[in-house]
């Protein structure tokens, strides 16, 4: 671990200006990603700005019926929040499927949105990795890639975006609120995380010195139900090998406001827009689910070790849609 300067901010402005003072600075929230990567020498900031004292740890109800989740809200608090459990069930389920109780008690919403790749070649600090040292290559290609992405990959990077929470946020069309010295802006979730392309080191649409202060969730679609399903080798405490967050409502027996987002299979929290379109306005049936699932995984590029992710994700989507339907029907 490289020694760094440590500062503690108590307001958003302070955090932003402290971080702008140094080019290589980063924020510290729960520390469950950052401290690990500092110790492994993968992240080497010159300055760490602790934002845990910045007042952004509440979940506020918005006038339109949505919610504003403060950046410092702990994953476990969010998961057990009443409104979240009722209206955004997939989000609660996604959070509770992630990591372990101890980690969820530390991890924050902003930290989770910003968590880094779990690719072993990124973390080992010596393999070629375009994310860690741009231009050095990608050791995962041709290496051990069982947990790697099959969607949104490039020839420069196939690292999976590891978050569960973000998959649900993508499905609920969240916006990430960021504040900088220049002002505040809301970034639509699907624009927030960047595809690796030829610059896998650039992961987010956030500018240096900008702080995430919250995540805005639009109101839940009337009558919709959601579900999050996650597949992994062991029963708990493992990142997703594939996961799906789905949500829809039934209007006169037909699917409305269909949302499908995928985790564990893509380089960013992945919205399956075409699959959603395929569902929209149709009567639910297992054939339809299969068709949507196939569309969602179309164009997947697999490696020898991760080809199984395509059928796996399809199966999850189908099952998640079936469960969502049961939940929708149970509402009435």
């Amino acid at each position: 671990m490289k020694p760094f300067h440590y500062e503690r901010a108590s307001t958003v402005e302070e955090a932003c200006s402290m971080s702008t003072e140094s080019e290589e600075s980063c924020f510290l929230a729960g520390g469950t990603t950052l401290i690990d990567l500092l110790k492994l020498n993968v992240m080497r900031p010159a300055k760490v700005v602790d934002v845990r004292n910045v007042d952004m740890d509440t979940v506020d109800l918005l006038e339109d019926g949505g919610i504003l989740i403060g950046a410092n809200v702990r994953n476990s608090d969010l998961a057990w929040h009443q409104k979240v459990r009722r209206d955004y069930q997939a989000l609660s389920e996604a959070l509770l499927s992630g990591a372990s109780p101890q980690l969820r008690n530390m991890a924050t919403v902003a930290g989770n949105v910003m968590q880094r790749a779990r690719c072993p070649y990124f973390r080992d600090n010596y393999s070629p990795c375009n994310k860690r040292s741009p231009g050095s290559g990608c050791a995962a290609l041709g290496g051990y890639a069982r947990s790697h992405a099959v969607l949104g990959t490039s020839e420069h990077c196939i690292a999976t975006h590891p978050s569960d929470m973000c998959v649900a946020l993508a499905a609920f069309e969240a916006k990430v609120r960021v504040e900088g010295l220049a002002g505040t802006r809301d970034i639509p979730f699907s624009d927030f995380h960047l595809l690796p392309g030829d610059r896998p080191d650039r992961e987010h649409a956030i500018d240096p010195g900008e702080l995430i202060t919250g995540v805005v969730l639009p109101p839940n679609v009337e009558g919709a139900s959601s579900v999050y399903l996650k597949s992994r080798d062991r029963a708990s405490y493992e990142f997703a090998l594939a996961s799906a967050a789905v949500s829809f409502a039934l209007v006169e027996g037909r699917i409305a406001a269909a949302r499908i987002a995928l985790g564990g299979v893509a380089t960013k929290p992945w919205r399956a827009f075409e699959a959603e379109n395929c569902l929209e306005g149709n009567e639910p049936s297992s054939e339809l689910y299969e068709e949507a699932a196939a569309l969602a995984m179309e164009g997947a590029i697999t490696q020898p070790d991760n080809a199984y992710k395509v059928p796996l994700a399809r199966g999850l989507i189908v099952r998640a849609l079936a469960i969502a339907r049961e939940r929708v029907e149970a509402q009435v």
């Binding site: 080798d233 199984y308 796996l312 189908v318």
Partner: protein
């Protein structure tokens, strides 16, 4: 001996210390002036270290020194007769034999500075073109060194004549012990004497090995290991952390703490090696085995020839006239393997018990029935009668408790909702061994007892079992019995390995305690003793006091000793395997039944239920014994479905080298476990008839699960771990 205490579940003597954090493990120890070391590991798997540039490291405030292969005092090797982790001491030469090999050590005022210093070191290598990392290729190219072979009868001919035949190849991956506590030590020198707070399964061996490494007389090395945070075989023998802590301490003249980090555990402290095993079985119409061939190969390192003796168990577990077994090794650019819980037999039974299941399917005989028909009446490999063999009873009882008779043999026939259920059975077994031990028991003026032996408690309950034995024989309260173990200077005791401690030590404790009581009796009946003039035989010890068998006043240990102004009396017990070893074969047997559930849509495979019935002789403490088997079953779940240390084929570096990527079972993976320990004393193994229980619980778990997976899915997976992708599509 009336057994009031033996066999009872009793809380651990060290339990309170452990749950309150008061138990100090090796690197918890803080010595005055202590310095800290951190290692730099090789990033390449084969080549030479050409140069170490330590300029930046040495410029860091707080760095004391840098030791490395190009500039380090030479250390000695240990003789072949003494088992060590890796024969080659660290820094012996500048060759690189595997990725992760320790090439340099930075010693500093704090751990943080040492680690930063290690990260700043610049190591220059020359990488070899010739790297052997590809086990499959090595096997194809026949780079196998045969190490062992034996046979009886005519296995090849009998195979050809067999009614039903199986010829299949099974594989097991590199497994990592994953003890919670890392390999680490705090070492310091007192004049010429070396003291190490260590984490080891063998304080005696560790001190011998360190004495050899540093060229010291054995009496000048003291290894302490009061608590061990898990070993599973990984801490049986000397590994580099203890050596390097001692070496660094010698160089800087201060106590030094050094520990591997978690990643280092995956390269530099042993592992269960990768194996490939070919099984050929043949049976007659009735399902009697007529031929069994088990040929195994395991990967070993460039520097050591470690044999994972997989087929040994196959030669004696079942009855079969024509058997041939062989073992070979392939050298590779990996770290040196070492025993891991149930070495040899654990991967060996994966192959044998899976193959038997395949044979049962072929013969259309129930797999339980097939095993029952082949139970070994004597040990045909050693040509000796069994001391006792309750294999058949274990199989029948396990099946009955599990509800085996309800099993529909048809593949995929048992379903519940979206899950398909499979039931599998396998035998489990472990050779019951004994070694030698010396124990002293002192009865003290304070009315307490003290028992001393240079063995150690690796979390298995040795403290408790020792105290229980003394309590049983003296009637002293549990709290009045001090157990002194975990120090190499105590009377020589056994290694905590091979499930030997209990079987080895129990007879010695009995003897030592009886002798101590006898010495006390001598004092009691002597002139001016409290029972002067009485016959020794008329006295006995009850509740920690001496009294006459016919009643009357009793006298405490203190009172008896006071009469002679003595502080204590001692008894010494020595036990070692005797001629019973030539007359009988000793083995523990058992059976596991497993239930798995596979949900194809979710890619979810889970073990929901395991029933185990095990005979390991007399049970001394039901809690600590059961605890061993519960843990073993969970470990077996990991072996069957999760655990694999993956190496990058191009570089030879471990890829899954942390506990987030190398998966061990978590609580939610633990099946419902129904365990029965038969608790039948072994008639010949020594006083009380206790055999060990550390490994027998594990050896057959993985095949029971694999066989259940077949029953659920119709897929015969012969390579561990069994993953969702193996079952999909």
């Amino acid at each position: 001996m009336d057994t009031n205490i033996i066999g009872r579940p009793l809380n651990r003597k060290d339990g309170h210390l452990k749950v309150t954090g008061a138990a100090l493990y090796a690197t918890d120890h803080q010595r005055e002036g202590q310095a800290y070391a951190c290692a730099a590991h090789s990033e390449i798997a084969s080549g030479e270290l050409l140069a170490v540039d330590a300029t930046a490291t040495l410029a860091l405030p707080g760095v004391l020194t840098v030791l490395h292969a190009l500039d380090a005092p030479k250390l000695f090797r240990c003789p072949e007769s003494l088992n060590v982790g890796e024969r080659r001491p660290p820094f012996e030469d500048n060759r690189i034999y595997y990725a992760g090999q320790i090439l340099a050590l930075v010693v500093a005022e704090s751990f943080e500075v040492a680690r930063h210093g290690a990260q700043l070191l610049e190591l220059k290598y020359k990488e070899d073109e010739q790297v052997s990392l590809d086990f499959e290729r090595d096997l194809r190219e026949g780079k196998i060194e045969q190490t062992d072979a034996s046979s009886r009868g005519q296995a090849a001919e009998a195979f050809d004549r067999g009614h039903a035949r199986i010829d299949a190849t099974y594989e097991t991956p590199v497994g990592i012990h994953c003890a919670m506590e890392l390999h680490g030590a705090v070492a310091w020198w007192e004049e010429e004497r070396l003291v190490v707070e260590d984490s080891t399964q063998w304080v005696v061996g560790q001190s011998k090995a360190l004495a050899n490494t540093f060229g010291l007389p054995e009496s000048d090395v003291e290894v302490r290991s009061r608590f061990v945070g898990g070993g599973f075989g990984g801490k049986l023998f000397l590994w580099s952390p203890s050596i390097l802590a001692a070496e660094a301490s010698r160089v800087v003249g201060r106590p030094v703490q050094f520990s591997l980090d978690r990643r280092g555990q995956f390269t530099s402290a042993g592992h269960r090696p990768r194996t490939r095993q070919r099984l050929r079985l043949a049976a007659d119409e009735d399902g009697h085995l007529v031929s069994l061939r088990h040929e195994a190969v395991n990967q070993t390192s460039q520097v050591d020839q470690y044999e994972e003796s997989c087929p040994d168990v196959s030669a004696s577990l079942y009855q079969c006239p024509n058997v041939s077994i062989s073992q070979g090794v392939v050298r590779s650019h990996v770290g040196t393997p070492t025993p891991m819980r149930g070495p040899g037999e654990t991967p060996g039974l994966w192959a044998l018990e899976s193959a038997l299941d395949e044979l049962a399917v072929e013969l259309k005989i129930d797999p339980l029935e097939l095993r029952l028909r082949n139970v070994a009446q004597r040990d045909e490999a050693k040509d000796l009668p069994w001391s006792i063999n309750l294999h058949e009873r274990c199989l029948r009882e396990a099946a009955a408790r599990f509800g085996w008779s309800q099993r529909n043999p048809e593949v995929g026939s048992m379903r519940e909702g979206s899950e398909v259920i499979g039931w599998g059975i396998a035998s489990t077994s472990w050779a019951a061994m004994r070694s030698s031990a010396t124990v002293t028991v002192d009865l003290l003026q304070s009315g307490k007892a003290r028992i001393s032996c240079a063995t150690q408690d690796i979390g298995t309950g040795t403290y408790t079992v020792f105290a229980q034995m003394v309590k049983e024989l003296t009637g002293l309260p549990f709290d009045s019995i001090e157990v002194r173990i975990g120090n190499s200077r105590l009377p020589t005791g056994p290694i905590s390995g091979g499930s030997m401690v209990t079987a080895t030590v129990v007879p010695a404790i009995a003897e030592a305690t009886e002798k101590a009581i006898d010495a006390l009796l001598d004092l009691a009946v002597a002139e001016d003793g409290p029972f002067a003039g009485s016959d020794k035989k008329s006295l006995r010890m009850v509740g920690g006091k001496l009294c006459s068998r016919s009643g009357g006043a009793s006298r405490s240990i203190g009172e008896v000793l006071e009469s002679k102004r003595l502080s204590f009396v001692s008894g010494k017990g020595e036990a070692s395997p005797g001629e019973e070893q030539e007359r009988y074969s000793f083995r523990s047997f058992g059976a596991h039944c497993a239930e798995v559930r596979w949900d194809a849509g979710l890619g979810r495979l889970r073990v929901s239920r395991v029933t185990s019935v095990i005979d390991s002789g007399r049970i001394i403490n039901l809690d600590t014994a059961s605890n061993q088997v519960y843990g073993a079953i969970v470990m077996g779940v990991g072996m069957a479905l999760l655990e694999e240390s993956v190496y990058d084929k191009r570089t030879g570096r471990p890829v899954t080298d942390n506990l987030a990527d190398y998966l061990v079972p978590v609580m939610t993976d633990c099946p419902e476990i129904d365990l029965s320990l038969l608790n039948v004393p072994d008639p010949h193994i020594g006083k009380l008839g206790a055999r060990g229980i550390g490994e027998v619980g594990l050896t057959g778990v993985a095949p029971a699960i694999g066989n259940a997976v077949y029953h659920a899915t119709g897929k015969r997976i012969r390579t561990l771990p069994i993953r969702m992708e193996d079952l999909m599509g």
